[in-house]
Symmetry: C2
Subunit: 491 residues, 2 copies
């Protein structure tokens, strides 16, 4: 894999001096056009220690306008990051549209270095690489230009570089004990790296393997690679695809239409069980912190199905210090400038905390799909992205429980009319509610698609018969209680 | 101070049951109106351990719509917070307009508890309280409604409460060893607290001291206090003050007009000193991390004075992994929904890092003042807010250096014309540049006001004669080098 990067390529001083001015000019021009283009650039700089990653990025930042660039040199995760899914630290640093983010120490670092040190087995490596592929495909689909650069030096060159650095008092600090340890495992590192590169080099986001021994060759080649990628993308920039409403055909019976909505709970029984479940949930919630766990609850459902009242019965069981209810409203402009899931990632709970989403990322495959608010390709890929997202959440110690609340169409009508009669503005029924109601069948069908494609053992959907509010609330509380119990039992 | 909260007030069950529904209704209504009003609400809940802070907030969250509320129970700062100024953790959590933020464990916690435990002397307490007063005045001026609630119980009541909780197996976990330690120092706590309350109770944001022994009385009173505050504010909500341009009269000579712009540096000397200074800065920058220090550099100046080129000469000395150049553009909507300085707080560096601001918070007292982009009261109070902000920055280990670059008016004209002739869009001179030029005298006068009011030993302004670019760059580099040297020498 690295043979083509061991050819001894060099650039002499004159050639470099001749190329530099036009290259800088072109880079600045491309960056200026990028600033108003509708995409962001994510640059991954990787390679063996001593290959000159830092020097090259320093040069890039001097050639480009540093004000449009965010550089992230990620070492060990902070505690705020450790308590959330693995990719939280990358998501929170994604640049907005028009900007460039440079990642040294990226999502590749952990799988490659841990595998080469023998701390991650084959399955673990494959798992990590699969996650990378998912993440990068999401970035591409979201319009992010991903440029991945691998700087290669041979084992001997690495030793030479370290020795040279160590000899000079001005640079000796740059060679650490850790570097020499890495040097000893150079062969394993190259082995792990080449597997990672093979698995993650795609047509849209290939790895650029660059011979890195000669600094001038390395500098020029990295700069040219970046320039070509941005220019190509700027030239190809198309107007956004026309979105159109896609109305799924309802199939009957389906998992939602088959629900038995006649279930009810007598008042007295309801009161008793409600309090019992809330106490149990409250008790378990207090143990989450010590067990390094958190909880994410998602509520979706037809309008007026009683999401708000149900959420309230859950939060009554919790301590205000440890939960947050997030209502999904229109995205802010910072959110619109980044991939779809960014707004949910930023709300993820730390250990010991609950985040309760009143509507959620599933909006993409429900309202956005049905109202044509995004191109079909966007909601179609959302199922996979959501599954990957929830998998990471669960792996990081979150209990993920998702609830779909539904009433009959008649009951919805009754509740709409009741709310209108109350006239209290909090319960105002808008034209939108009535319009959604006309699409009842389509929403039901979209919800069935959603459940089919995103319900897993890790992050199951619970369908809740909400014709009787008491029945619905108890079913949700019971599910939360069981979910927490499972979470606290498993180590 | 607490006498009026030791009267044994109680609310019986019937009265509570009677008051509850209307109070909840009114609270929800107020919250709904708040959602579209132009301000946010910050609630501070404080008081002795065992006074029922948690219970009361839980109740409030059940009565209100939890989706519009962010609750922050702050314990020890995270490492991401520890490496930044003390108030970073509060700033990052300020709610946006239309929302409510509840802080248990607020900016009061550290000064009061540390003073009562004897870890903070009188001067330290006074200092902490002064900082609180500054911060809260800023919040008020920014239109935030601040509601401060102090829940009071006596020493005996505290002991009773702890014993009762400890006896019940369901609540025993709530009484910790720490609580009993606090109990022993109850008198000191009340002493420190009453001083804090006295110093920070202002006309606009008074403390509400609430007798907390009887839960029903406490619940009702807190809810009523909050309701009254929001309703009063909603009723008083005025259209924003008319902004108007305020053009300061230039005084000559002044610190800027008196600069000797004839200074130059010969090319050869420039090259030599440039490299020497950059090496020195690079060396010192590497030590910042170990010394728990960071650096914040601010660049302001007249148009075309060479800020960009100068910043580039600084960043050339630095490692890309450890600096960020922030260009101040139009605020995002998340930034507009919060106090003015929020957008700068969120960009503060961690230890070992530089943040370089290309234009900065001083925009408020320069362009915003002169173009009438904010009401006069806003820029007039900005000087004090900025001084408080920079003081915190310095206290947290940041070296703060501020540069004002200026040329003569003739030299600016020459550079404008040169840029227009180049025609390259990066250097495009806009109508705005020409309009600003017409206000040269006013900008100079505003800059003089700014320097006079915000240059301190802690965070000094350096006036830079930028007629000769080489001279300007060396002066900046020299100042940065000296600043870092001072920072690293002082312990």
């Amino acid at each position: 894999m690295f043979e083509s990067a061991q050819l001894g390529r060099k650039v002499d001083r004159d050639t470099f001096a001749q190329r530099e001015p036009e290259l800088r000019e072109a880079l600045l021009d491309a960056q200026l056009r990028l600033a108003t283009a509708g995409f962001s650039v994510v640059i991954v700089v990787a390679g063996a220690e001593g290959a000159g990653k830092g020097e090259t990025v320093n040069l890039l930042l001097n050639w480009l306008d540093a004000r449009g660039i965010e550089t992230h040199a990620l070492g060990a995760p902070s505690e705020e990051e450790l308590e959330r899914p693995e990719y939280y630290r990358f998501w929170r640093r994604l640049p907005g549209k028009g900007r460039i983010g440079i990642f040294f120490g990226s999502w590749y670092t952990r799988p490659i270095s841990q595998h080469s040190l023998g701390n991650l087995d084959e399955a673990g490596l494959e798992d990590g690489l699969r996650r990378i592929v998912d993440f990068e495909r999401m970035l591409e689909d979201e319009g992010v230009l991903l440029v991945k650069v691998w700087l290669h030096i041979t084992r001997d060159q690495q030793a030479k570089r370290f020795k040279a650095l160590a000899k000079n008092p001005d640079t000796a600090w740059r060679v650490t004990k850790m570097d020499w340890r890495f040097h000893k495992t150079y062969d394993q590192f190259v082995n792990s790296a080449s597997r990672a590169i093979r698995r993650t080099s795609t047509g849209q986001s290939p790895w650029h393997i660059i011979e890195a021994w000669d600094a001038r060759y390395r500098h020029l080649t990295v700069a040219e690679t970046l320039l070509a990628a941005i220019e190509q993308r700027l030239a190809a920039e198309l107007p956004p695809a026309e979105a159109q409403s896609v109305v799924p055909a309802p199939v009957r019976p389906n998992v939602i239409s088959s629900l038995d909505l006649s279930r009810t709970v007598p008042e007295a029984e309801y009161r008793k069980e409600l309090i019992r479940r809330q106490l149990a949930i409250g008790r378990m919630a207090r143990d989450l912190q010590d067990r390094k766990r958190s909880a994410v609850l998602v509520f979706e459902g037809s309008d007026a199905a009683g999401k708000g009242g149900t959420i309230r019965r859950v939060t009554q069981a919790l301590d205000a210090r440890f939960y947050q209810v997030v209502q999904i409203a229109a995205p802010t402009d910072e959110e619109r400038a980044r991939p779809y899931l960014w707004r949910f990632w930023r709300n993820l709970p730390r250990w010991g905390h609950f985040t309760i989403f009143d509507r959620s990322w599933y909006g993409r495959v429900l309202v956005e799909r049905l109202e044509g608010l995004c191109p079909p390709a966007d909601w179609q890929r959302a199922y996979g992205e959501i599954n990957a997202f929830e998998e990471q959440l669960v792996l990081s110690g979150s209990t993920v429980l998702k609830f779909w609340l539904t009433t009959s169409k008649d009951e919805q009508l009754r509740r709409f009319q009741e709310r209108e009669a109350m006239g209290f503005k909090r319960y105002k029924i808008t034209g939108e509610d009535w319009r959604n109601r006309e699409k009842w069948d389509a929403y039901e069908a979209a919800a069935c698609d959603m459940v089919e494609r995103t319900s897993s053992e890790l992050a199951p959907w619970t369908l809740v018969e909400a014709e009787d509010k008491h029945y619905a609330r108890l079913k949700v509380l019971r599910t939360v209680e069981e979910g927490l119990a499972r979470a606290l039992d498993r180590k």
